[in-house]
């Protein structure tokens, strides 16, 4: 009975995994065949394989430019968002002050704005201060969406840390900032890592702002660059798919790397077991 249920559960997992992984597999597979064979009889294991699309991607289209741009923008957004957001979230989680609940709901409301509704005002604003087609011109708008998310996630995380630990640190002679730095942050690494990954993914994949606030390839990010591959008379599917594979790699690597940081039970032993 138990074994049967286990097998059932396992097969469901396998099915779900297959469903999720298949498009990815198909992308990788299609990026490795010639343009001509793309639309012939589809087969799971095609031959011959070719790197022609990847060569075109980097030699003709200078694809490393949008990759650099995306890394800079997403990295800066993540760094700023987690640094500022964690301090902000700690205050919201632990300090008692008037209007705290209101502030939190306001933060969430900001993140709920449909992006499209603020594209025009933001564009005018950025043009006014001369930040169109610049890194800050993307990072700052991203922060308006990333920060509320960061703060919300971290407020939840900080709240579930036992307040005893902070109190012990205060009595031991640490001030608020030392306590935050020495006790709270190290214990929050899993939460910080999760938040950082989500922010990075958001910034890496963001399309609308990136399309609206950049002008040329010098500042275009990966999603924009890929979208602009299509010409007037043809769609270079092979190169688009190769671009998608290259764009997915850093993100996948990042998740795998940070996963080690997401160690649950880091607080075990803090209070009685």
């Amino acid at each position: 009975m138990k074994g049967a249920r286990r097998r059932l559960g396992l097969s469901v997992v396998v099915l779900l995994l297959a469903a999720a992984a298949f498009p990815l597999y198909w992308t990788v597979r299609s990026s490795l065949v010639s343009e001509a064979s793309l639309f012939q009889h589809p087969s799971l294991l095609p031959s011959p394989l070719t790197l022609e699309h990847y060569r075109a991607l980097f030699q003709v289209r200078r694809f490393w430019l949008p990759i650099r741009n995306s890394l800079v923008v997403a990295g800066a957004t993540t760094l700023l968002s987690v640094t500022l957001g964690s301090v902000c979230a700690y205050a919201l989680a632990r300090l008692r002050f008037r209007g705290r609940a209101l502030l939190l709901s306001f933060l969430l409301a900001v993140a709920m704005f449909p992006q499209i509704s603020i594209v025009s005002p933001l564009y005018l604003l950025l043009r006014e201060v001369g930040l169109i087609d610049s890194y800050p011109g993307l990072v700052m708008p991203y922060l308006t969406f990333a920060m509320p998310l960061t703060v919300w996630l971290l407020v939840g995380y900080f709240r579930q840390l036992p307040p005893d630990l902070e109190e012990a640190a205060y009595v031991d002679g640490a001030g608020r900032f030392r306590t935050f730095w020495e006790i709270i942050l190290p214990l929050s690494l899993p939460g910080l890592a999760t938040t950082a990954i989500l922010t990075f993914l958001y910034s890496w994949n963001e399309f609308l702002f990136a399309l609206s606030f950049t002008v040329g390839p010098e500042r275009q990010t990966v999603p924009v660059a890929i979208a602009l591959f299509r010409g007037r008379y043809q769609v270079p599917w092979g190169e688009i798919l190769a671009g998608v594979v290259v764009a997915t790699l850093p993100v996948a690597l990042l998740v795998v790397m940070f996963q080690r940081g997401i160690v649950s039970g880091l607080t075990a032993g803090a209070v009685k077991g």
Binding site: D164, L165, A169, V171, D172, G173, E182, L187, K272
Partner: protein, 368 residues
């Protein structure tokens, strides 16, 4: 070394709960003071107010005469041991012990020496490189103690530090605490809900209830002369028997007749005249004397409802009337069983009297 003072301290929590209500109390230099009371009595809140973790709504807190009411915890130089220990889980035992010293700018070499010395005293030296998660409950408790001791603070605040230990370890840890207090000769302020722990550790014990101090006295005085009905019932196990009675003066000779459910006794003490007519009579189960034989003088008798063997003695529930039960601690060779009748004497010098209106102690001192 420090004297701790609470002066008219009040603490009202958001929502209006009065946790501490006008407490004035002094913990003397080098004293082991215990705050004891049921949950919600405000004992932990008082401790946290002293530590600086809660700001009092009113009143003043002093350490060595200095007003620290609004001072940050780190400015008070007090150490605290938390009920759940609150060890820093990402730091090793050594780092836990050294943390307070590091925050106070003690040099690395001295930190090392002091941490190791404390670890040796507490028998945790082999654990210095471990993380709290790798320690047993008893070991964690020692590290928590060590973290407080190593700083050599002005005073120690302990919030139920033994309540998470197994009963077997608890007695040892209690003895260890008493030893450390003697050794450090520093002020200890200790909070517990366990009256036995309070009695065994405290130089003086403050009994708290609903945010108010009921009585502050050395343990034996609490036991012998409880200031009111609450203290009488809270201190001592099994709990004191308390029955509503009437006291009637008999002539001018000073004798008083006390009548209650299932008993009737006479007091010859002259001061018994001071008793109000309606009183509460209290007697500890240990003080009730079982008497043998049908002819022996007796103050009450009833049917044995339940006999609980406790090893060294028996706890007997004696039903005097359908409404009234008397707890009696009897010698193990009592020779009576459930359903038998038993007669008892209530020695006059072991009786306590309380005013039924407010529960305060009245009349002749029942204690010797």
């Amino acid at each position: 070394m420090a004297e701790l003072r609470f002066e008219g301290v009040r603490k009202v929590f958001a929502g209006g709960t009065v946790a501490v209500d006008d407490v004035t109390l002094e913990v003397r230099d080098g004293e082991f003071m215990v705050f004891v009371g049921p949950s919600g009595s405000g004992k932990s809140t008082l401790l946290r107010v002293m530590a600086g973790l809660e700001a009092p709504t009113g009143g003043t807190v002093r350490v060595d005469g200095e007003d620290v009411t609004v001072a940050e915890p780190r400015e008070r130089d007090l150490a605290m041991v938390f009920q759940a220990y609150a060890l820093y889980p990402h730091k090793t035992v050594r780092e836990n012990l050294e943390f307070g010293l590091r925050m106070r700018g003690v040099k690395a070499s001295e930190r090392r020496e002091r941490a190791e010395a404390i670890a040796r005293t507490l028998g945790i030296a082999p654990l210095l490189h471990r993380k709290p998660a790798e320690l047993s409950g008893g070991q964690r408790q020692r590290v928590a103690l060590g973290r407080a001791l190593v700083r050599e603070p002005k005073a120690f605040l302990l919030d139920e530090p033994l309540s998470n230990l197994d009963p077997g370890l608890r007695l040892d840890a209690r003895a260890e605490l008493a030893r450390l207090h003697r050794k450090t000769a520093t002020t200890f302020l200790y909070v517990t809900h366990d009256q036995e722990e309070a009695m065994s550790l405290g130089d003086r014990v403050a009994v708290l209830r609903e945010g108010r101090v009921q009585q502050v006295a050395p343990p034996m005085e609490l036991y012998r002369k409880p200031a009111n009905r609450f203290v009488a019932e809270f201190i001592g196990s099994p709990s004191m028997n308390i029955r509503r009675c009437t006291a009637t003066a008999r002539g001018t000779g000073g004798g008083v007749r006390i009548e209650g459910p299932g008993f009737d006794l006479h007091l010859d003490d002259g001061r018994a005249h001071e008793l109000p007519h309606e009183i509460l009579l209290g007697i500890r189960p240990h003080d009730v004397l079982p008497v043998d034989g049908d002819e022996a003088p007796r103050d009450a008798d009833g049917e044995i409802e339940l006999v609980e063997p406790r090893g060294s003695d028996l706890l007997v529930r004696l039903r005097l009337t359908p409404e009234a039960v008397l707890s009696v601690v009897a010698p193990p060779d009592l020779g009576a069983a459930e359903g038998d009748r038993m007669a008892v004497r209530l020695p006059p010098d072991r009786l306590h009297f309380f005013d039924p209106r407010d529960g305060t102690r009245v009349g002749p001192d029942g204690a010797s």
